[in-house]
């Protein structure tokens, strides 16, 4: 796991995401999900590229079942951008081009 990515579970969501001042990109994933694994290099690159501007976290939906329910995650990978405790974007698998464009829109 990249040093720029944090694993989040049900009991750490509040401190790692909701209490964070930066926008937070959340990658809902699971180890058995091939498209999620395919997205991993992109997520790692993006975390490095936006370090200090966007916090990147990964949530394993098999481990964090309460978060999966809370955010109605029914397919993975699901990516959400959080700011000030609210979901401001929600997308499925994305190219690095589209993901960076989305982050640029929200980070200026």
């Amino acid at each position: 796991m990249s040093q720029h990515i944090t694993d989040v579970l049900d009991d750490s969501f509040s401190t790692e995401v909701e209490a964070t001042k930066l926008p937070v990109l959340i990658d809902f994933w699971a180890p058995w999900c091939a498209p999620c694994i395919a997205m991993t290099p992109i997520i790692e690159d993006v975390a490095k590229l936006y370090a200090g501007r966007v916090k990147v976290v990964k949530i394993d939906i098999d481990q964090a079942t309460a978060l999966k329910e809370r955010f109605g995650v029914r397919s993975i990978p699901t990516l959400m951008l959080f700011r000030d405790g609210e979901v401001i974007e929600r997308v499925q698998a994305q190219s690095k081009t589209r993901l960076c464009a989305m982050l640029d829109r929200h980070t200026g």
């Binding site: 091939a34 395919a38 290099p41 690159d45 590229l49 329910e69 109605g72 029914r74 190219s95 081009t97």
Partner: protein, 310 residues
């Protein structure tokens, strides 16, 4: 992202190549070859091409043991991943396996790489080759491409060609190309144009970024082409019914309500495309798409080998 690095395939050691090729040869005719990414299971001896070559899932060994960029390993496995076909059992999708005609490809790949070759510009060369393949007009599912899409491909080929031959391409130019490519994708007039433009925008990055951009773009392209082929099995009216079912599933999935798989099955739009006859046709369409894609991926593998430096 990777830092500048000098690569020498097989670390310049013929014995290293012989060892790797012997490993792949021993797996070529067995069921041990998988279309997963960087996979290796010591207990069964099964794995992906690079997993088998390294007998490990540690990507760092691609550089330290094979003298190749990680981007190249991911790219080869992404291309080889398209060579999968379905085996059916009692009308159920039993397993996805490598096409029989493709099992020798990983062996050919490792045999074709010259000892000491620098593969650092291979991603750019393959990107150009694949872009040209997409607009070459020989693929039935990729006809009637928008002129704007073809122009985008031509300019992107120029950029990758420059990068592969050592011409400095500024970050600003790559960024501008990506922004233009996204506009072209959003304005694409038909599915085929959208698929090609989507691929182009995803790979409008320099080689230093290729380890994350190009393999995932190849994966997505394979899926998008498969969907195009599946569409061709249905009339426009039938396609509209399929689209309506898909949209209804997405709407229900995105709703706040708790839903079960049965709830999706109860949607009228889904029931309209769930008769036994329809399901049989969906299965035929999926088989057709996977077989076409497998042939396409084998062509891509040949393109990839053709991009290797002498």
């Amino acid at each position: 992202m990777t830092s500048p690095h000098t690569y020498s395939a097989y670390l310049g050691d013929i014995a290293c190549k012989q060892r790797i090729v012997a490993r792949l040869r021993s797996h070529a005719d067995t069921q041990h070859l998988e279309t997963k990414k960087m996979a290796w299971q010591a207990e069964t001896g099964a794995g992906s091409p690079y997993g088998l070559a390294l007998q490990s899932t540690d990507e760092a060994l691609v550089v330290s043991t094979l003298g190749m960029p990680v981007a190249v390993a991911r790219l080869q496995e992404a291309v080889f991943g398209g060579c999968r076909v379905i085996h059916w059992k009692d009308s159920r999708m039993a397993q996805v396996v490598t096409a029989a005609s493709a099992v020798q490809l990983p062996l050919q790949w490792f045999e074709s790489i010259a000892v000491g070759a620098d593969l650092s510009t291979l991603p750019s060369r393959f990107a150009q080759a694949l872009l040209r393949w997409l607009v070459g007009g020989e693929q039935a599912m990729l006809t009637e491409l928008d002129a704007e899409v073809c122009a985008l491909i031509a300019s992107l080929c120029e950029l990758h060609e420059g990068a592969a031959s050592g011409v400095a391409v500024s970050d600003a130019r790559w960024t501008a190309t990506r922004q233009h490519a996204m506009q072209v994708t959003d304005a694409a007039g038909n599915s085929a144009s959208q698929v090609v433009a989507t691929f182009a925008e995803a790979i409008a990055w320099p080689d230093s970024e290729a380890s994350s951009t190009l393999p995932s773009a190849v994966d997505s392209l394979a899926n998008d082409l498969s969907a195009l082929v599946r569409q061709s099995f249905f009339t426009p009216a039938e396609q509209a019914l399929r689209d309506a079912a898909q949209q209804a599933i997405q709407r229900l999935g995105a709703s706040a309500a708790k839903v079960t798989p049965d709830d999706f099955g109860k949607l009228p739009e889904v029931q309209a495309v769930s008769s036994p006859d329809w399901m049989q046709r969906e299965r035929q369409a999926l088989d057709g798409a996977m077989n076409t894609l497998s042939q396409v991926a084998q062509q891509w593998h040949a393109l990839l080998i053709g991009c290797l430096p002498a």
